[in-house]
Every structure is written in structure tokens, then in C-alpha cells.
């Protein structure tokens, strides 16, 4: 009895099949459903909001140029995402362990984040040029803040009784960080991953749009100047799909990593 009783997740097989069907069918239903609603509701001509059919046909038949430019964007997004995490978590650690650095770093961090992107792009383009690094820096600047803020909260959420245990045992701050604070922060850090991870493609695209001649951002730039709304939205759709996959991967990783999930009651 004790198994069944404590396992609230037991599902009937019918429910399972439905769940799988939902997982496969719901995303397209969701995306195209809302798209058609927008088209119908806004009443704009199709050179402004192209119809899903035209966009899909671009993705299927004219994808060469898009796919060619997918790789640099993915690279920039992945590197920027990584760096945003490194910087964000490092800052969180610094700021929580040396409180006065909080007041010293935070205003600069917020200012950096508030330099208008166009001004930032100008500076980066001149200082570094149209390179991977420029894009990665823009992504870092756009992404480190949510990671930092959430990690700080996470670090502060550690159960005080466990910290007492660490103090009694005179455990090094380093180990406490890696083995206690970081795992305790995971629910917060994983939330930041969902936020930053699923946005990194579209930020990479925005960065490319401003300062690069490769990548999906450039494709959009070119497509807009050619009045190829269908191509613009094809890129947007592709970006959304990738972001959704990233989001699902992060959710999967959360479920694996996140101890909170294991103590969580299912309803």
C-alpha cells in the first residue's frame, strides 16, 4: 500500500496517451491558433502579418538561406547564454558574500543593462567589430541580470538550520557554496534558465539585426528590406521553435536536478 499511497503521479493509461498526444499536438495548435486569431482580430493585410501557410512554405521550400544563417545565431546564443550564466552567478556570489560590493557593483550593472541597445551596438561595433564576440557581449549584458537576481534570492533561501550545521563543522565557504547554497538555489537558478535560455535566440537575432552581416538577424534585416514578411516570420517561427525546445530541455533538466520537485505535492 505504501507505494501507491505516496505516489500521487500514478496515471491511468488512457490519461497517458492523451498526455503524449497533447505534448505533440498542443504546440502547433497553440502557435497557429493564436496566429490566426491575431490575423483575424487585427485585420491587417498580409504584407504586415503574413498568413501561416505562406510562412510555412518559406520554411519548407526556401529554407536554404535561413538554415545557412542559423548556425552563427545558434553559436552566439549558446555562448552568450553560457557567459550570462557565468557572469550572473559569479556576481551573485560576490554580492552575497561581500555585501558592500553589492552597492558598488549594482548601480554599474543596472546602468550597463540600461544603455540603449543602439548606443551599445555602436560602441561594440567600433570596439570589437562585427564578430561573434560583439553578439556574445550583447547577450551577456542582456542576460546576466535575471541570473544574478534569481541566484541571489536562491542563495538567501538556504535553510538556516543547514547553515548552522555547516558552521558547526567549520566547512569552507567554497564547499558550502557548491554543495549547499548552489543546490538550494536550484529552483531559482532554473527559473532564471527558463527566462534567459528561451530568450537568448531572439536576443542574438536582435544583436545581429543591429550589427552583423550573418545570422538570422541579418536574414530578417534583408527580408524586411525586401518586404518579405513571410521570410521575417519564417525566421521568427524558427526562433520560437528553437526557444520552445530550449525551454523544454531546461524544464527536463529542472525535473532531473531540482530537489524541490521531489518534495513537491502533485495535485
Amino acid at each position: 500500500m505504501s507505494q501507491a499511497t505516496h505516489n500521487n503521479e500514478a496515471r491511468r493509461p488512457g490519461m497517458r496517451a492523451l498526455a503524449i498526444a497533447g505534448r505533440v499536438l498542443f504546440p502547433p495548435l497553440s502557435i497557429f491558433g493564436f496566429w490566426y486569431l491575431a490575423v483575424a482580430f487585427l485585420g491587417l493585410p498580409d504584407f504586415v502579418i503574413p498568413r501561416p501557410g505562406a510562412v510555412l512554405s518559406v520554411l519548407i521550400n526556401e529554407n536554404h538561406f535561413i538554415l545557412e544563417n542559423l548556425w552563427p545565431t545558434l553559436q552566439a546564443a549558446a555562448l552568450g547564454y553560457l557567459l550570462a550564466n557565468v557572469v550572473g552567478i559569479a556576481l551573485a556570489v560576490i554580492v552575497t558574500s561581500v555585501p558592500f560590493l553589492n552597492q558598488l557593483l549594482m548601480p554599474a550593472a543596472i546602468t550597463l543593462r540600461n544603455v540603449p541597445y543602439v548606443a551599445l551596438a555602436t560602441v561594440l561595433a567600433l570596439a570589437i567589430g562585427d564578430t561573434m564576440l560583439s553578439k556574445v557581449l550583447i547577450l551577456t549584458i542582456a542576460g546576466f541580470f535575471p541570473v544574478m537576481v534569481n541566484t541571489v534570492r536562491g542563495i538567501q533561501s538556504v535553510d538556516s538550520v543547514v547553515l548552522d550545521r555547516m558552521r558547526i563543522l567549520d566547512v569552507s565557504p567554497w564547499r558550502v557554496f557548491w554543495q549547499v547554497r548552489l543546490p538550494y538555489s536550484l529552483p531559482f537558478i532554473m527559473a532564471a534558465q527558463e527566462i534567459v535560455g528561451s530568450a537568448s535566440i531572439s536576443i542574438a537575432i536582435a544583436a545581429e539585426w543591429m550589427l552583423s552581416s550573418s545570422g538570422l538577424g541579418y536574414v530578417i534585416n534583408r527580408a524586411m528590406s525586401q518586404y518579405r514578411g513571410d521570410e521575417v516570420y519564417a525566421v521568427a517561427l524558427l526562433a520560437a521553435l528553437i526557444s520552445y525546445v530550449v525551454y523544454l530541455l531546461i524544464q527536463y533538466a529542472s525535473r532531473k536536478l531540482d530537489w524541490l520537485g521531489k518534495t513537491r505535492p502533485t495535485k
Partner: protein
């Protein structure tokens, strides 16, 4: 809690009894160098608590379990050893002795209240500390387990003498195990009596019928509950 000086001799077993909320946990935290006393002084052997802590000689069984929610029982016990770099007592042996052999792979939220308390106990002493601070370590256990663990502790202390501060609500247990029983009063929380138990340790369950036991338990109950008649 008003000014308190507490000094515990090396190798002594000191029990702390007193009504709920009188400051037992607070005193234990001072002894553990988790809080600083505003007045008064605490000494373990001839060391201040901070020195003992820095030498990793402390072990604390906290009133609320201090296990890590993502660690299986056995890993939590081993974590203490990894952190202190002291292998101390074998983690498997500890859990087996505590009746948790079948449950060593369980996560904390899959353990019952009493099991969790035993894991917490095992984790707190796994590095075999010289100074053992315990805050109602057996409160969630049935009488049999409580007795078993008390005897187990007596045996360990006989083999490896330790300085012990033991908070409990069980007067019998206090007298049975300790060299000295400190009795706290309710507000203002302060030590109203410091009662030595002269019969040498380790004692067996037979000590319960010894005149000193009966006398001392009555004396402590009298101090705690006033004129009222003592009861089991």
C-alpha cells in the same frame, strides 16, 4: 535568559532539563558558537566554543533536522565526513545500528518523522566529534528506540569519551545518562540547580531502581514542577 556562566568539564556528560521555551536551545547555540552571549561566558573543557568549533571538534544534533533535502540518508551521513575530512564512524554501521539499514537510500521526505530524527542524529556524529551537543535528539522516537539509542550512546561514550551537552524533556533519561543535571527555570530562564549524579557511567537499565536514581528524579521533578507530585 539572564546572565549565565556555563563551563563543562572535558569528558563530562551534562544534561539540561527545563520547561519548553526556557532557553535550552539558546544555551546550546551559545555552546556551539552559533550565537554570541551578550553577558556571561561559556567554556567547553577549557576552551571557548569558537576554538572547539574551529578545530572541528563539535557535533550538533539540532532540534529540527538539518539534513539536505536532496541527499539520501547514507549520503547525508557521509556528507558530514566529507566536509570535516574525518571518517569517524562508518556511515553504514551507524544507520544499521539505528535500525535504518533498509532505508539508507531514502530521501528525507520519504522518511517518517522518527527515521528522519535518527538520520539527523547519525549525520551529526558521523565525524566522531569530541564534543557532542544534542537538542532533544530522541523526541520523535518510541520508547524502545529511545532506550536502544541511549544505551548505544552510553557504549560509544565508554569507548570514546566525549564531552556531552544533552537537552531533554525526559527527567529519567537525564538522570540515567548524565554526570550533571542542569535544571532550568521558566522565565526568566536561568539555571536553578546543578545536580551531580555520582554513580559512575556507563549505567544500565538497572540503575532505574537504584536509590540515587529515584531520589534525583524526584528532586529534579520537584524543581521543575514545584510542590506537585512527580509522575512517570
Amino acid at each position: 535568559m539572564s546572565e549565565t556562566d556555563l563551563s563543562i568539564g572535558a569528558g563530562q556528560f551534562v544534561a539540561l532539563v527545563g520547561p519548553s521555551g526556557c532557553g535550552k536551545t539558546t544555551l546550546l547555540r551559545l555552546t556551539a558558537d552559533l550565537d554570541q552571549p551578550s553577558t556571561g561566558q561559556v567554556a567547553i573543557g577549557d576552551m571557548p566554543p569558537s576554538a572547539a568549533r574551529k578545530q572541528r571538534r563539535l557535533g550538533l544534533v539540532s532540534q529540527r533536522p538539518a539534513v539536505l533535502p536532496w541527499k539520501r540518508a547514507i549520503d547525508d551521513v557521509r556528507f558530514t565526513q566529507v566536509c570535516t575530512g574525518k571518517s569517524g564512524l562508518s556511515a553504514e554501521d551507524l544507520l544499521r545500528d539505528f535500525g535504518l539499514a533498509q532505508h539508507e537510500k531514502k530521501l528525507p521526505h520519504h522518511l517518517s518523522g522518527g527515521m528522519l530524527q535518527r538520520v539527523n542524529f547519525a549525520s551529526a556524529i558521523a565525524h566522531d566529534p569530541d564534543v557532542l551537543l544534542m537538542d532533544e535528539p530522541f523526541s520523535a522516537l518510541d520508547e524502545m528506540k529511545r532506550e536502544e539509542l541511549g544505551l548505544w550512546l552510553g557504549k560509544v561514550l565508554a569507548e570514546r569519551p566525549k564531552t556531552v551537552l544533552f537537552v531533554t524533556h525526559h527527567v529519567d533519561e537525564a538522570v540515567l545518562l548524565a554526570d550533571r543535571v542542569l535544571v532550568f527555570s521558566a522565565s526568566p530562564g536561568r539555571i536553578v540547580a546543578d545536580i551531580p549524579v555520582t554513580t559512575p557511567r556507563p549505567r544500565t537499565a538497572a540503575f532505574r531502581t537504584h536509590p540515587e536514581f529515584v531520589e534525583l528524579t524526584n528532586q529534579v521533578r520537584g524543581l521543575l514542577f514545584g510542590k506537585q507530585e512527580a509522575h512517570a
